[in-house]
């Protein structure tokens, strides 16, 4: 059962009020946030004000909307009118948006209780949340390990019981990877299913906002609220309903197992994935080995294209409008320099243009594989690494191998817990679906979750 429906039942039955529920989460935050560093801003007063309105509505006998009265968080790159939004970068400190992101507008219509803004890698560039100007978020399962990145704060908040759900953004794995590190469910919707209006841009052809939640049912419920067409984002056509089909049978469904990705992953994760495959077989699904040509180019293609788009998007922080012209961290500087390099005259064709063509080729291979099956199964990432571990930039980039293919192809993908390693760190399983078929992968994830509980 989902946490959201369980809490809403408690609200309806008057087991607790929405203000009591909100206070519980605010107390948890004040108790644990100094360790987890999940929140970088807490909005307790406005949260309690919304909670009071929900209590009044309940007292009048009003019906609750799907996410009404549920305490949640937003990543610090999602614009919130009147609440400072900084992408955890010094360059945006003091910036208070004058408008709301579309997703936040949709959630406010639901009387969502915003507890605060969560920690992230600076401008969403990183895999461990450690490039944040506030320091990294800590894994709720182990204080020595990172929460993952870039949406590490949201995943740590949900995994650590400091929020019911979070919205993050996923460019190359930034929802799925931290969700898997923190033992939560993370969904990156199809490119174009959720509006990016008000999401501070990193790489516009890849960025998508998605939920991080404690259960598949919750992730589907949040997705169903935010998947609306939006005139203010011309790439957003909206998505299809996913909550109604979670419990469907998997009998006869074909799941493609991504061989190259499984072969490169460590032993404990591979064992957990094999166990999950057996569960799927027992549920009547058919497992098909799948190989994707040109998968080895996915990582450099991703880093070339994302950096090129970043160098263009971040050009606006030129000190004229609000930036100070200084204050980017090392990782942001590296990506702006790489982006500038690959777009430079004389290099553009052999790097940027070539990467675009390879992206298209990879996208076709992924779609071709998905013609023979209903979804693809792969690892999400190696398990959480230790905080402060010294790795080179490229060593860090390489851990994104498993999540960037779905990003480049614009396909929906999720991470769902499928076990723990010998250190007690969660292991995630990735399901990649056909475009706009979030419902199919959420259905398969729900079945796996059910088998584990």
């Amino acid at each position: 059962m989902g946490r959201i429906s369980e809490l809403q039942r408690g609200l309806i039955q008057r087991d607790f009020s929405c203000q009591e529920l909100t206070r519980h989460y605010l107390e948890e935050i004040s108790r644990k946030n100094s360790t987890l560093n999940a929140y970088i801003k807490i909005t307790g007063d406005t949260a309690l004000e919304v909670a009071r309105r929900v209590d009044e509505k309940l007292a009048r006998g009003g019906q609750l909307l799907a996410l009404e009265g549920i305490p949640m968080t937003l990543k610090d790159n999602i614009s919130t009118r009147g609440i400072e939004t900084t992408c955890c970068s010094k360059i945006l400190q003091g910036y208070t948006p004058i408008y709301d992101a579309s997703v936040w507008e949709l959630l406010q219509c639901q009387n969502a209780v915003l507890l605060g803004k969560t920690n992230m890698d600076e401008f969403a560039m990183g895999s461990g949340c450690e490039t944040s100007c506030h320091g990294g978020a800590v894994n709720p399962h182990s204080p020595d390990h990172v929460a993952g990145g870039s949406s590490g704060g949201g995943a740590a908040a949900v995994g650590g019981g400091l929020a019911v759900y979070a919205l993050g953004s996923d460019t190359g794995g930034s929802v799925r990877q931290p969700a898997s590190f923190c033992g939560t469910v993370g969904l990156k919707p199809t490119y174009g299913a959720v509006s990016r209006y008000g999401l501070i841009a990193y790489a516009s052809s890849l960025d998508q906002i998605g939920p991080i939640a404690a259960s598949v049912e919750d992730a589907a419920a949040v997705y169903d609220v935010i998947r609306q067409k939006d005139e203010r984002d011309c790439t957003c056509v909206g998505g299809r309903s996913a909550s109604g089909t979670l419990k469907n049978s998997l009998r006869g469904k074909k799941i493609g197992v991504m061989q190259e990705l499984i072969e490169t992953i460590g032993g404990e994760i591979r064992t957990a994935l094999e166990n999950a495959q057996r569960i799927y077989q027992d549920l009547g699904a058919e497992l098909i080995p799948v190989t994707i040509p040109d998968l080895e180019y996915a990582l450099p293609v991703y880093y070339i294209l994302a950096s090129a788009e970043a160098s263009s998007n971040l050009g606006r922080y030129d000190g004229v409008r609000y930036g100070r012209g200084q204050g980017f961290g090392d990782e942001v500087k590296r990506r702006i320099l790489l982006g500038t390099f690959v777009l430079r005259e004389g290099y553009r064709d052999e790097y940027y243009q070539k990467a675009q063509l390879l992206r298209e080729k990879l996208t076709r291979s992924m779609k071709f594989a998905l013609e023979a099956c209903d979804m693809l199964l792969a690892p999400v990432s190696p398990t959480a690494f230790e905080r402060g571990s010294s790795r080179s930039a490229v060593e860090t980039y390489r851990t994104d191998l498993y999540t960037v293919p779905a990003s480049l192809a614009g396909l929906p993908a999720l991470s769902v817990p499928c076990g723990v390693n010998s250190q007690g760190l969660p292991i995630g399983l990735q399901l990649i679906g056909k475009a706009f078929e979030e419902a199919a992968i959420l259905n398969a994830a729900w079945k796996l979750e059910e088998a584990f509980t």
Binding site: I98, E296, V342
Partner: protein, 94 residues
């Protein structure tokens, strides 16, 4: 191989301030990143036609009311009604 001059030139193109003490490390990083990115250059050439997932959602080009000027300039460093061009960059140019 990428030289110090090239890194500084890229930084200038990108309007990035690089401190002297950052430079050596940054050159090493860029060398590593560029050799990683070079896999794309050495890949067999391919002829693909871009085919988007969907046709997008273009709106009509109609004028809608926007935000008041005072609201928009709330985040500007100076509270007059104009943008102030950062003179540091102009000085670097000269």
């Amino acid at each position: 191989m990428i030289t110090q001059e090239e890194v500084l030139k890229l930084a200038k193109l990108a309007n990035l301030t690089i401190r002297e003490c950052e430079l050596e490390h940054l050159i090493q990083d860029m060398e590593e990143i560029l050799s990683f990115a070079h896999l794309v250059v050495s890949a067999a050439s391919t002829e693909e036609i871009y085919e988007p997932l969907h046709k997008g959602n273009l709106r009509n080009d109609e004028i809608h009311p926007s935000y008041p000027q005072e609201e928009i300039l709330k985040n500007a460093a100076h509270d007059d009604r104009f943008f102030l061009v950062n003179d540091c960059h102009l000085m670097e140019e000269s």
